[in-house]
């Protein structure tokens, strides 16, 4: 540890002791603070007098860590000092008001029997003293012998404390067995895949089936959240084959893992990297949507990578699995609310987690397409009971518009919202009756969708090497659209739907095709849902039909993409992966099947005698059979991509700065670079080119930067690509133009020997600076702030808002149940 760090910790500790010292002085010097009604006020004053000490620590921290982030330092010191002061106040309050300390104090003077102790303690007198203290603090007021609340400050604390009480001390104890099953399953998965024992995949399969059977038996009647742990347990075992496999699907190897690794390394260094240094560099914000940098499971993956010694690839796999479990939990809540049956929720959640949505590990992007769907549906379903749920629904809708494939999310959310509104119009009217909800909902959508606004703002300066985006954006007629979409749109062929019934693995059945699977017994249960509870199953079946048609895209009857283009759906002309509607189709099938299971379970519970036993056994067998089908499918799929080579992380910095579009930059590069009429031989081949003024051409002229041996040009690779940009040290004999392969459009700031200098556009797209004086110079290029960090902060806050809202409502519900 450095002395500066020790000084900081010592200062922080001293500041945390300041409330006690100040309180000590106040009670000793000012006798009024020793009076019974003023003692708490004295303690609060002591806490307030400690604030200057905390401020002093902040300024000391600024000088001890000059390169540090002042905002983080301020938040940290505020939290530490605030909590220390809060702790001290409560400590003092306990010494003043704790009934148990009072009893101990009385008993410390000598033993006594219960009655004598009660007489000395005087419990009713203690209650009167509390009323006096509350009045003294201004919380209560007494008028004509009646007490009432003077202010509501303490009421918030009282509610929070009683919610905590209802959580910690519920009326019924929680069953420990679900967690034990999950831990056993995880341990079993670890042993099976550890490599110590050569367990074949069949052992993993059998173990998962046994765990699933045990989970089915242990499903808790009270239907608490622990039932989800039972659904997750067998899934964890099957997933372990992917977690410990040396292989990855091809899309992950060459695209998502390098990007994850790159972002995780920067996250570990405590920053968001502002750029990706390939193809001359692009802003990270441009791939925010297509590379879903801030989805919760990704953030969890970065965090796990940062806090542990695990490799980037393992962290990537783990975050994928956590993402599937996160989606599964959301969907389990939806099904629990929809059917009210623990069996149905268990069954449907397994369909989603192990079916095409989860286990196909479909290039991670499909996970980003669906991770919001369960939480959006859950919020919509809750609006019926509590209108305030319109707020998380709006925030989630905004997040959907700024995550992967926003067009798909928009279509799906609008469709689902319209169906909900049609089914329950009274709910919609009730939700909008509170006017500020509407304004707040719109604000939340706009704030959460800021990354889309950021991309659209920059879109004119970008092109996509992957596709003819310009042509697609410019197409206005149906004829143009048909020609372009025919070449560039990916739709599910109808044979993909056969995968639900007759799964095939192999070269012709890639990840997209394999995603169309939810287990074959589940399809029977979905049909049973329609037969046994047609009214309830109507909505999921209708939505399933819609999503099936959308999945087929250009192959759909009536050409849905054309219809949506004609309807003027924003940016539908640049949307290409129609088959990525498959997760939503699977969700709907899962809901229909869950309704089938719930209806069957309800009928069985009404039956009597032997018939009931046989029917219950048949239902349990069907549920187990579906798991067997899903687990077998998932393990077969995992073995399919074993043909790929092991992932080798490519460099995203350094030499790639000089290369053409690659990896994440395949999505977007600057128009000036992508379309500049520059012959290949004129592209720069070094990180630094020093150009003599004599060879700089006039307006529009090109420097022969890429030509070996060109007169008046010196080249060097002696430069460092950093998180902020590029830095180098050069020695020049006289005035020179320093040219880098950095894109001018990155909006760079340049510094020569620490002083800012203007950046020049060179050869139409490169960035250069003029060096005037002979000698050695330190040159640094850094990206100017363009608002992306603010947008990221807003996105994080949106996630926090949704999570806190849902958790608070859950706790509120628990408290209400407890009361």
């Amino acid at each position: 540890m450095l002395p500066s760090q020790l000084y900081f910790i010592a200062g922080l500790t001293a500041a945390c002791c300041a409330p006690f010292v100040a309180h000590l002085i106040l009670t000793r010097v000012f006798k009024r603070y020793a009076a019974e009604d003023e003692r708490q006020s004295g303690c609060l004053a002591g806490c307030a007098f400690g604030v200057p000490a905390a401020v002093a620590v902040f300024f000391a921290g600024r000088s001890l860590f000059p390169g540090g982030d002042p905002f983080s330092l301020a938040v940290y010191i505020t939290l530490v000092y605030g909590l220390a002061a809060y702790t001290y106040f409560h400590f003092f309050n306990i010494s003043e008001t704790s009934r148990r300390i009072r009893l101990l104090t009385l008993l410390s003077r000598g033993g006594m029997d219960g009655r004598e102790l009660a007489a000395r303690y005087d419990p009713w007198g203690a209650l009167g003293r509390r009323l006096g203290r509350l009045s003294g603090l201004g919380e209560l007021k007494e008028r004509e012998g009646r007490f009432s609340l003077a202010r509501r400050r303490l009421l918030v604390c009282a509610r929070a404390v009683f919610i905590l009480r209802s959580v910690l001390f519920p009326l019924e104890r929680t069953d420990w067995k679900p967690l034990a099953v999950l831990v056993l399953a995880a341990a079993g998965a670890g042993v099976c895949n550890s490599g110590i024992f050569p367990f074949p995949a069949s052992v993993v399969f059998l173990l998962s089936v046994v765990i699933c059977a045990v989970s089915l038996v242990l499903l808790d009647r009270r239907d608490g959240a622990s039932n989800f742990l039972l659904a997750a347990a067998p899934v964890v075992i099957v997933f372990s084959c992917f977690l410990f496999s040396p292989y990855l699907p091809s899309g992950d190897i060459d695209f998502h893992v390098p990007m994850f690794s790159y972002m995780a390394e920067h996250f570990s260094a405590g920053r968001v990297c502002p750029w990706i240094a390939s193809a001359g560099g692009i802003r990270t914000g441009f791939v925010h949507i297509s590379d879903f940098l801030t989805v919760p499971h990704r953030l969890t993956g970065y965090f796990l990578y940062t806090m542990t010694g695990m490799g980037a690839e393992f962290a990537y796999r783990l975050q994928f699995i956590l993402g599937v479990l996160f989606i599964g939990f959301g969907w389990w809540l939806v099904l629990k609310k929809l059917t009210g049956s623990r069996y149905a929720a268990f069954f449907g959640a397994l369909m989603v987690m192990l079916g095409g949505n989860g286990m196909t590990f479909h290039q991670e992007q499909a996970l980003a397409t669906q991770y919001l769907a369960p939480w959006f549906v859950l919020s919509l379903m809750k609006v019926r009971d509590d209108r305030s749920f319109i707020l998380p629904a709006a925030a989630i809708a905004g997040l959907g518009l700024s995550t992967h494939q926003p067009q798909l999310q928009m279509i799906a959310m609008v469709l689902t919202g319209v169906v909900f509104a049609a089914v329950s119009p009274a709910t919609v009217r009730a939700a909008w009756r509170v006017r500020w909800f509407g304004a707040a909902a719109v604000c939340l959508i706009v704030l959460a969708a800021l990354p889309s606004a950021y991309l659209l703002h920059h879109l004119p300066s970008l092109v996509s090497p992957m596709r003819e985006m310009d042509d697609l954006l410019a197409c206005t007629t149906l004829q143009q659209y048909d020609v372009l979409t025919g070449q560039q749109i990916a739709s599910a062929p109808r044979r993909y739907l056969e995968q639900y019934f007759m799964p095939r693995f192999g070269a012709e059945s890639g990840a997209d095709c394999c995603a169309f699977f939810v287990g074959r017994p589940a399809l029977v249960m979905a049909a049973a849902g329609v037969a046994l509870n047609f009214r309830a199953a109507l909505v999921p079946v209708f939505l399933a039909a819609c999503f099936m048609v959308l999945t087929l895209g250009l192959n759909s009857p009536g050409m849905v993409p054309r219809a949506l283009f004609l309807a003027g759906v924003p940016y539908i002309n640049v949307f290409r992966q129609w088959y990525h509607f498959f997760p939503l189709l699977n969700f709907c099938l899962s809901a229909a099947a869950a309704i089938g299971v719930a209806a069957a379970a309800a009928r069985i519970s009404r039956a009597a005698g032997g018939r009931r036993t046989v029917a219950a056994g048949c239902l349990a067998l069907a549920m187990l059979l579906n798991f067997v089908d899903l687990a077998h499918y998932a393990l077969s799929y995992t073995s399919v991509f074993a043909a790929n080579n092991r992932y080798v992380p490519p460099a995203v910095n350094g030499p790639l700065l000089l290369a053409g579009p690659d990896g994440p930059t395949e999505l977007f590069i600057y128009r000036s670079r992508g379309r500049a009429p520059v012959p290949d031989e004129l592209w720069p081949v070094a990180l630094i080119s020093l150009v003599d003024r004599a060879v700089v051409p006039g307006d529009g002229g090109m420097l022969p930067l890429g030509v070996e041996g060109a007169a008046g040009i010196t080249r060097s690779f002696d430069a460092a690509v950093t998180a902020e940009g590029l830095s180098c040290s050069v020695e020049i004999p006289g005035p020179r133009l320093l040219v880098t392969p950095l894109n001018y459009d990155l909006r760079l700031k340049a510094f020569v020997d620490g002083s800012p200098v203007p950046v020049h556009r060179v050869n139409g797209f490169l960035a250069g600076v003029e060096l005037e004086k002979q000698g050695r110079h330190a040159v640094k290029f850094a990206l100017a702030e363009d608002g992306y960090n603010f947008i990221l902060t807003v996105q994080y806050l949106m996630y926090v808002f949704v999570a806190v809202f849902l958790l608070a409502k859950y706790l509120e519900g628990r408290h209400a149940d407890g009361v």
Binding site: Y86, L103, F147, R165, V167
Partner: protein, 174 residues
């Protein structure tokens, strides 16, 4: 240097302690809570950070958790979070009468008389339950109907008495 990761990691580890606390309390409701709470909120985070420190140092890449100072900053924040929580916990555990009075008055706009407020409580809640909990914690002992403070109870009472006398205040009256 203080980065957002220091704050995030402290909150995450505190959340882990809290989750373990909630789960154990919902399943077992331990009798002697003080020791277990100290283990969950003070010993466990220290062990977690210690383990992370050594794990992160094994990696080829420089990680946040490989820096002892980063983890120490996070541990300090975790401990003050734990301190704040643990000092609030007795109010939830013992159903603070002050907070119950506030909740009751919030639902009666016309207010309540002293007698109505007293009717919310029983002598069992206000006195006997506390005595029973002190016995559970091993702070008092009951021998043949006679209550005495145990050595641990005497130490606790002495600690608070010294603290109050340092402040120049009489002992608290409950």
């Amino acid at each position: 240097m203080i980065t957002p990761l220091v704050i995030i990691s402290a909150i995450t580890v505190f959340s882990l302690s809290f989750a373990a606390h909630v789960y154990i309390w919902k399943v077992f409701r331990p009798a002697r809570q003080a020791v277990l709470l100290a283990a969950l909120f003070f010993a466990m985070p220290a062990l977690v950070f210690f383990a992370l420190f050594f794990w992160a140092r094994q990696g080829a890449v420089e990680r946040f958790a490989a820096s002892a100072s980063n983890l120490l900053y996070a541990l300090i924040l975790d401990y003050v979070l734990a301190g704040g929580y643990l000092l609030s916990y007795p109010a939830a555990q013992a159903s603070s009468p002050s907070l119950r009075v506030v909740l009751a008055l919030s639902s009666t706009p016309d207010g309540m008389t002293g007698d109505q407020l007293r009717a919310l409580f029983s002598e069992k809640e206000l006195f006997w339950d506390h005595l029973a909990r002190l016995e559970q914690e091993g702070l008092v002992v009951n021998t043949g109907g006679r209550w005495t403070a145990s050595p641990r109870g005497l130490r606790a009472a002495g600690f608070f008495a010294r603290y109050r006398s340092l402040l120049g205040l009489p002992e608290g009256n409950g």
